[in-house]
Symmetry: D2
Subunit: 363 residues, 4 copies
């Protein structure tokens, strides 16, 4: 059973972003540059191509064409609020025509923003909405690479479309963790290939677990979850702070309620080699702890009908689907388990009570 | 072939809303009332129940519980911006727990809004976002019933959740058209029952048509569309103002580009008894005309992976699904057609050109 | 004593807007046109000039230059959300450089907006914020001319800057009342010329009244108001729904609390020929009534430190100033009155109580 | 002539906020607490008082009453988005009644925000708008104290009203600089006492300077600026990136255009012991440098009609007023100077050109 450990950042925002662009095939960048993007483009790598648009409209329009031709999202670099505004007609078209364009807009240095600097964007997380599927300026430099990864996943979820990220110019040289690659199966249709992969992982698992979120009850899939859990002899947890029941708490497979704190949650799930989250964002935290979301030996699958939640999960393989058909198909695909059922749920002891009180007196 | 005709309103906003509530099972209303809601509740019908919450939080929380228990959306009536604010904790919980709560907030009279009246909401379409899936104040009184119908469909799409509608108090007595009932199959999974129903309608059709939108190319489903069209001998149109091709324009079944004007669009499709829109909002208008969206003899089905677009269509049966699996399944379900193929596309004549120019010099 | 009467509209939105443009010197219009603006420009009057910009940026930049040269606000016509976006760099500059540019953006027909039409703006009241001082799409066609008048007053208040109005294309031919001309003295500095004019009006008044709003207590000006009222022997009212006291309710000049309903408020003030509102928006209504804000014989002056409130008042002469210095100067400027003091306040009778109950059970 | 130096932070956000609260008289805190505020209240100082409201509405309402009674802004601590929502009715009242209430809302840890944590606010800078005069979540922990200082100044500018600051819970222990106290004279009316103080400082100055911003031309005050400059024999600069002229560039007192970079700007002004900024935000930067805004020996006065700009200046004494009357009064108040005029402007040399090019290729 692996210990959760915190990985110190070994790279910069700029390096992590470039690595992500390589991993997602966004090495052609369309843009119309200004001063706030300079640090992004310094030491421009040989394997990247920069295509200059003489106006922001043409940069976005070219990127949209590139996305249509390649079937991959295309990256655009624009300059602050004004530059993004100038491209709005092309952004609107990409939005209506479902074209995955990932826009990074330069923003002034965080240090300058309190003084309303020249070339600053005043409401950077709102601006090109409602004509983009996602817009954000991360609250910390270190969060830029992961935010770009999420934006890319949103752009590539059907219906595809443009997304937006505002990056303060002093973020590029700050330390950041590299972004782990993720898979999102976006078929919506209980994709047989994706489910077969998951079934094989469950068959090979020594100690599987299901995590039940609000989506299970929302989609009336409690019975199917129970059938799958029994066939797998899997442990069953309720996701952190879920307000809806989705599993019988007296069932012998029931293990309890996952805590909304990263290290505690990872510790609870560290006993499991395969975890399947059902209709749950899973990583709903309430108190911060410096810990990775899962222990090294825990593999996560995530089934949800909400592509936004599939996009914002930081780790694991997501399958976008409604739960009923997926659970029925999955139950047919897995072998009846001959593994031992998990030990019965420990009665909530004083440590848990103390911990819950520590975490928050308010919920 | 039916003539498109405009139906003059025969009812009031209040009557149309009450009829919609009956049709959707929302006859229990939870609320905490104020003066701006008085016209909504006047002559309260016998078959409706009003459950008073002594605070807005409890009204929303009770409604959420009712929705969980019944499996239907629950209606809440709150009072202007302040009243909605007071309920925000309960709205947040409903949002996170995917509970379909439909909130109608009283707003001041339209006539008063320019003067910042007491009890007015200043940004009524924004306020409870981002904790609701939909928020809107219709631009005309006559649009209130249809907006509530759309809000209800959004609330009931998975993942379910709260929605919000702001209604100026002088809207309730204005004329409005009754809202036509609609079905949305929200399974996402090429729902076999829904597709079977569509297949039976296509088999029975004399002159079917497919309308191809941006989603077809977005989901790489051009080949499947072609196979289905050929099996059906169906006419194929491109949806209004789509910027992406999704069908070979030289194919003998291709009929042209639908115009973005209600009467012209309805006229083009009036020859067809069954129309299947694929990845297209279909009713993307550019110029207003007083005409119903479809002629009386035209039945619409709509396949799209975007539940928001499924919700905002004003007529027809929507099936939420990605296109590839749905088209493959549908092609298997329909009988090969022995009907005559549609006549070849008329060459674009002077009238069309003139009309396009009339419509808009700008696109 | 004049009777309040409702004036039925005698003109269209377009005619009222053109008249307002003439009155404010905005007869040169800079623009880049699209289809949603066609009705605005039909039968373009001989005394107006249209200056075409080949791009929206240049239209706004030319308008800004014109405003700098003339010292008057300049009018720009742009096309929907995309067109406004394209001009954003020039709008940003005008905002930073305090240049009064009045932007009217074409919006799709109200009738089409529920269906997300082509060329529609989805959040029209928000879009160019925070780079404009004012943005709005009126809730009714009839409110367009007054909203444009307010926008113009906001643009011309120091610090000047750009403002924005979204106008649905089917609003232009609807009926609307002409906009009454108004004066706003924007000096902030207890402008002696403006105060002298007011002093002359008060000296000539037979039955003056002061209306005390929250600003009086906010600026600690209660004593100065009392001195002025006594010197004038003026009636003193509290403004509708003010939550702060600003005058001694036992003072013999005190007349009571103005009701938040147009006809009732106008009736209370109809006895007065000159009314001076102090730190009060005055027309804070709660219940709509079809009545003009003031009776024909009542002349309104408005002293407030908030230029936004000065701009949104529909009638009267505003003087932007803090109250203390203005009241001290005004008290020196007016002659001690030899007119009769107003009759003592009638004890609140049953009619008032009934009326308050009728108006709102909630405040 | 003092050298600009960067002061390293010597305190935490929490300590700097508490010091600011003491300096502004906000040592009574009204609130309804939750977990995200715990770090703010740890080791609660003896000289602070916490008044518990059993509901958020009462906390804000009590604070509003306290502000009315004391004439000072009152501090409220609320809990995340839900807690702020619950108080909205009381916030609305404070807004309409011009009551200065400073709301700090707890926000989740910055580290958690990418994952949509429990108790997080999703659009923290927007939420209680438009019912507050100011809302912000600083982009860095270190900016929290200065943002609170700005919020307090906004709340106390007439018309007073509520303001809002969202503070992530992990910001409280981060390092931050203490906030320098500032004076804002909010009289709007060329306040004679404030101007007399400025006149005495100018009379005693050895090398005064005027900085001309867009407001000078906006308010047609170029002639008055020239008269004042000549009477003072003061150097005259144009503020950074101003797009409007406000002084004759051929005038012997003209010194040039201030650069939009902190260290360069401070260096240009370091020769001056008294600087008067006119209609200019002055600290409009384009490139960040680690330098204090002004050298230690430079004292700043700021005259502007915009209370928002008066509030956001980080240092100096602001006098809110239109420029014309203030400049006329000031010219009368100062003694004709017998000091030497500043040396004529150096011709723009290669170093300046190089520097401008370094700063930004884009303007």
């Amino acid at each position: 059973m692996a210990e959760p450990t915190a990985h110190p950042p070994t790279t910069t925002v700029r390096e992590a972003v470039l690595a992500l662009c390589r991993a997602t095939g966004m090495t052609t960048v369309f843009g119309n540059p200004g001063s706030t993007e300079l640090r992004m483009f310094r030491d421009w790598p040989e394997d990247f191509r920069y295509v200059l648009g003489l106006h922001e409209s043409t940069a976005v329009a070219m990127a949209a064409g590139h996305a249509l031709g390649t079937g991959r999202a295309a990256l655009v670099s624009l300059h602050s609020a004004g530059g993004v505004g100038h491209s709005l007609g092309a952004v609107f078209n990409a939005y209506r025509d479902r074209v995955p364009v990932v826009i990074i807009a330069g923003q002034q240095s965080r240090a300058l923003l309190p003084l309303r600097p020249f070339l600053g964007a005043d409401e950077p997380a709102r601006f090109p909405r409602p004509y983009v599927k996602f817009s954000r300026q991360p609250e910390r430099a270190a969060d830029v690479p992961a935010a770009l990864a999420e934006a890319h996943r949103v752009a590539m979820s059907h219906p595809r479309g443009p997304v937006f990220l505002s990056v303060p110019e002093d973020d590029w040289d700050r330390p950041a963790e590299p972004v782990a690659p993720r898979t999102v199966h976006g078929g919506y249709t209980a994709d047989p290939a994706a489910l077969t992969g998951l079934a094989r992982a469950l068959d090979a698992s020594a100690r599987p677990a299901l995590v039940v979120g609000p989506g299970v009850d929302d989609e009336r899939a409690v019975r199917q979850v129970t059938e799958l859990a029994e066939r797998l002899r899997a442990a069953v947890w309720i996701s952190p702070l879920s307000g809806r029941s989705g599993f019988d708490e007296r069932h012998p497979l029931f293990q309890g309620f996952l805590p909304p704190v990263a290290d505690q949650l990872a510790e609870r799930l560290a006993a499991h080699d395969v975890v399947v989250a059902l209709g749950a964002p899973l990583f709903t935290y309430h108190v911060h702890s410096e810990a990775p979301p899962l222990a090294d030996g825990t593999e996560l699958y995530h089934l949800d009908c909400d592509p936004a939640q599939a996009a914002w999960l930081p780790v694991g393989t997501s399958i976008v689907t409604t739960l009923g058909p997926a659970l029925r198909a999955l139950t047919d695909l897995v072998r009846p388990a001959d593994r031992a059922a998990p030990p019965p749920r420990p009665a909530p002891g004083p440590r848990l009570a103390t911990s819950a009180e520590e975490i928050s007196p308010s919920w």
